[in-house]
């Protein structure tokens, strides 16, 4: 039986693979046949993800993405052992609920560094000779917060809006290199990060937010399906797009 999402023989690097959407994406694409390079800060948790993958030929590469200048060189080293990469998913991210009055520039810069500057450096590294295979697919994580207003998340929203702009700019710049660049924009997903934020809401606020998600809150698997779609042949004619995966949040 033909599977249009088949990723057999493809090597794909996933950041943020030690938890949440990154971990679930790594699991799903391993089930679709990909060799996965797992990236995260926590070695132990990466090893946990590694054990949960299907198939063989995966590896774990602990790395702190906040050292953004190191990323291209580091990617070169990784691809020397993993072989050229066919895909890159930047799922590592930082989210802090910080109403403007308590938002300081250090927190804003930390959020921008991991969510945006690391994404730029990863794309730069991916583009290098020998790192990317003859064609490639890059998937960034935006958010509905980057597309519509939400109170208390200005820095995070700015970073996720920047991802949309970055996606479009790089799609144009890298089309000639046979690299497609897209992003997904999830609504609230009950990952560890999502639950940490939901924990700061009163029952009333929680209920109101949940009601905005017409299909309820999502789970990591819901988002990973969209990421796999953008990585696979199914999206061969898609670049520079934002795929909203939000249970209907943006339909209002």
């Amino acid at each position: 039986m033909m599977n249009p999402l088949d990723l057999t023989g493809k090597t794909i690097l996933v950041t943020g693979a030690s938890s949440g959407i990154g971990r679930e994406t790594a699991r799903l694409i391993s089930q679709l046949g990909a060799h996965v390079v797992l990236v995260g800060r926590n070695e132990e948790r990466l090893a946990e993800t590694l054990r949960s993958l299907d198939g063989e030929g995966h590896s774990a590469e602990p790395f702190d993405l906040s050292t953004t200048d190191e990323i291209p060189r580091w990617l070169k080293r990784i691809s020397a052992s993993s072989g050229p990469l066919h895909g890159l998913v930047h799922s590592a991210g930082m989210h802090k609920l910080r109403p403007l009055r308590v938002l300081n520039s250090q927190t804003a810069e930390d959020i921008m560094r991991i969510n945006v500057v690391a994404a730029i450096s990863l794309a730069k590294g991916f583009l290098q000779k020998g790192v990317c295979a003859s064609s490639g697919s890059v998937v960034f994580l935006s958010s509905v917060a980057g597309l519509t207003g939400q109170a208390g998340v200005a820095a995070y929203a700015a970073s996720k809006g920047a991802i949309v702009a970055l996606t479009k700019a790089l799609a144009v710049e890298l089309a000639g290199e046979h690299i497609r660049v897209n992003c997904v924009a999830p609504g609230v997903v009950t990952t560890e990060m999502g639950e940490g934020l939901l924990g700061m809401l009163t029952p009333e606020q929680f209920a109101a937010l949940e009601a905005m998600h017409l299909l309820g809150f999502g789970c990591a698997r819901d988002v990973s399906y969209a990421i796999a779609f953008l990585l696979a042949e199914t999206a061969r004619w898609i670049t520079g797009t934002v795929l909203v995966v939000d249970g209907g949040y943006m339909a209002h």
Binding site: K96, L97, R98, P99, R101, V102, N104, Q106, T107, A151, G152, G196, G199, M200, L201, T202, P203, Q205
Partner: protein
């Protein structure tokens, strides 16, 4: 952190002149103590003390002093010498 320092942070959070908040005031008496103000308070506590408070803990507080009590040893009485939390929380 000394209590006085903490109260100054609350002044800032509630958009009041420095030195306004004393401790015994009812939280409901501050216009800034609304849903966003409460989230801001949780963010402030996370930022300065790396403590994650739950909304229901805060719902159980009636006065500023109740908030101070939530943080227990993190807040020391003024002029006690050593503050237990660093000023910038890092």
């Amino acid at each position: 952190m000394e209590k006085n320092e903490f109260l100054l942070l609350l002044d800032e959070l509630l958009e009041l002149e420095p030195g306004t908040v004393k401790g015994s005031e009812s939280l409901d008496s501050f216009a800034g103590w609304n849903s966003l103000g409460i989230i801001s308070f949780m963010a402030l506590v996370d930022e300065h003390f790396s403590v994650s408070l739950q909304p229901k803990q805060i719902a159980g507080c009636a006065t500023i002093d109740d908030l101070v009590e939530l943080l227990g040893d993190q807040i020391s009485e003024d002029s006690a010498g050593t503050a237990s939390g660093s000023v910038d929380g890092r």
